[in-house]
Point group: C3
Chain length 287, copies 3
């Protein structure tokens, strides 16, 4: 019988293919379908829609390849993964009566898929860091950046992914207004880089286990409570004040900043209006 202390080790040896990868594709393409205007694009130009879906699913791979001067089309060489993701795309967008989409919008199933997607995030971060370490020996900043790009690529390139669908929102991007998954991925990339360089007194499989638990728990919690409050908000506020002297008093960030302020602090209220708002945010946060 497996003992408790062996759980993290076994967990860190989990293989992502095919089930976790599949969950990642499903969660990503569901998030894409929730974007405004995507359904029209899927009717007008299936190819643009497919390309958008591939950027949602493989954006991390594309971005980290670009950063390391490697072929950004490399992900197309994994034929089976592409077929899997394309099947999901086809079923989610073109299934008669939207059966597949409705089916996965059923909360327990949605939770399962979203939780499994978060597991793949940890694997991608560590993959990215290991790969960067091979290309640039001991350049810790490159390790952080590539790990981050690999884990949160779909979010970071969202401006250009939207451009494929004919949408252009230059006034915002994931560096200006970081969403929770992108922030959590950045923290993960820093932690795993520190661990990789042996600055952290923790074994790799334990960190993998704890970080994944953290990701999954907060993801599920945010989906259940429909609350967009980032669990990182207090730390951010403290660090922001300490390092950059920014005191986000309500009176200060009234005009332009108001949306970004609400963005990470408003919880769901029992009213129809807020309900929809939170739902939209949820869609966006799924990355």
């Amino acid at each position: 019988a497996m003992e408790l202390w062996q759980v993290p080790l076994s967990f860190s040896r989990l293989r992502m293919f095919p089930f976790f990868d599949l969950a990642h594709y499903i969660a990503s393409i569901l998030a894409l379908k929730e974007q405004r205007g995507v359904v029209e694009v899927s009717v007008r130009s299936p190819l643009a829609c497919w390309f958008s879906a591939m950027l949602y699913c493989f954006g991390g791979s594309v971005l980290s390849s670009l950063m390391l001067g490697e072929p950004p089309v490399a992900f197309l060489a994994k034929t089976i993964n592409i077929l899997l993701a394309s099947s999901v795309w086809y079923l989610v967008f073109y299934c008669p009566e939207d059966i597949v989409y409705r089916c996965f919008s059923f909360l327990p199933l949605h939770l399962l898929v979203a939780g499994m997607k978060e597991v793949t995030r940890t694997w991608k971060i560590t993959d990215g860091i290991a790969h960067a370490d091979i290309v640039y020996k001991d350049a810790w900043l490159i390790m952080v950046v590539v790990g981050w790009a690999r884990g949160a690529g779909g979010g970071l390139i969202s401006n250009f992914e939207q451009l494929v669908r004919g949408v252009w929102k230059p006034e915002t991007n994931e560096l200006l207004h970081m969403s929770y998954p992108v922030k959590a991925t950045l923290i993960g990339a820093v932690l795993f880089t520190l661990q990789h360089r042996q600055y952290l007194p923790i074994a790799r499989h334990n960190l993998v286990f704890l970080y994944t638990i953290f990701l999954v728990v907060f993801k599920v919690k945010m989906m259940l409570t429909r609350c967009a409050t980032s669990p990182l908000a207090p730390f951010e506020a403290a660090m922001g004040q300490m390092l950059f002297g920014s005191q986000k008093t309500p009176s200060k960030v009234k005009g332009e900043g108001a949306t970004s302020s609400n963005y990470s602090s408003v919880c769901d209220q029992p009213s129809e209006h807020h309900h929809e708002g939170a739902k939209k945010k949820q869609g966006k946060k799924t990355e």
Copy 2:
């Protein structure tokens, strides 16, 4: 004497340099000059105009290099081709009294140049596929994508080419609203990839011959009839309905989709108004 069955073989051994390449440069730069606002750019900033012209001529090379992680400036190493294209650019844009531009706008000459440009397309597609096959052994999706990018690069990067000239149209791109040359190139890339992997019961030189004939004939026909109806429209409609269940009834695509619907189905009517419209489309379609 050469017999008839030898024609395709000899044809497939044609060398593109210098005459066909030259025709490609002329046709591309004529198409650039027909874009709105380019003449002002050519006066204000010859360098931006030159760079735009180079992207029109070598866009396929730039895009496929980017995709394969190779230097996108590689095309600048072919000094003679650059000099040729630059001379064409200079003569088309700055020749006194626009002699060169007017000369090539003379229909028979324009037809010749446009037809020869289509021949280079076949060569580029097969070059791209062969190159992708060397970099990624047997990754058929990469072969299709790189062949497509190489053959229709100028069109696919048009958003960024326009940005060089200070024009930004995020609401459209060649994936959302594919023009006929880009579609034909995609089909060619698929066919040549299938042939390369020996799934098609046809010899390479025969496919080269037939596909080029197809490209040239429809290009010339579209220019002569000033009709923008894509010869692929019926197949597209059938496939769209079969795969994606899209039934483009006139009532459905009234609002936003109307332009894209007209785009590929309106023929020239003997009226001044339509005449100009078709002319503009012609310009755009030349890619």
Copy 3:
């Protein structure tokens, strides 16, 4: 004692690290802080501000790496330079009471820093050319382009640098409306490429010396006189008329072109209004 003829040789052996590099970072980040809206970005999202600052400091490296198909994140491997630039960024943006920014806005200090920054430009151009020559043996056009990109990268990618800060100005770019530093860098790249290929009857260290003197003198002169007149304007006008037949008579370039015309010819008048205008231009010209 060092004799006069030895000065250029010793000068060309100057090491950029750490003092000249530091001056480059300071001048670049001061220029960034003068951009409209940056201070708000620095409060709202320090990370976007930091990334913008890095693009200002290392834009040339990023752009030339992209052009040569090398990892654009390579600059992050120079940990000490990144730490230096990040410290400058932190002090300029977040120092209490803006002490550091005010301190370097003191004219003599600003002149010193700006002059030293121009020295690094020469070194970057020659580095870029030497690197391109290794990758592409004897491709003079690639040498010019990479040398130019390396020396004026921050300016050339300014559209995308602005995008990081949520600003998008597609109607202009450094190819359409070249600023003086970008032009001077282009001329330098051409000269050093000619020298590298031994078409110029001048020793390398002499060219380095003379070109740097030229850069520094005109930079200081433009800052002292607050005059945006490019010293290259007469040559440009002559070449423009000779090659492209453009006669920029005032009546011709009235509408849209007016700004670009003023851009490179208006000097400071003793009036409050012009004073501010020139100041803004100064900020922009610093690249």
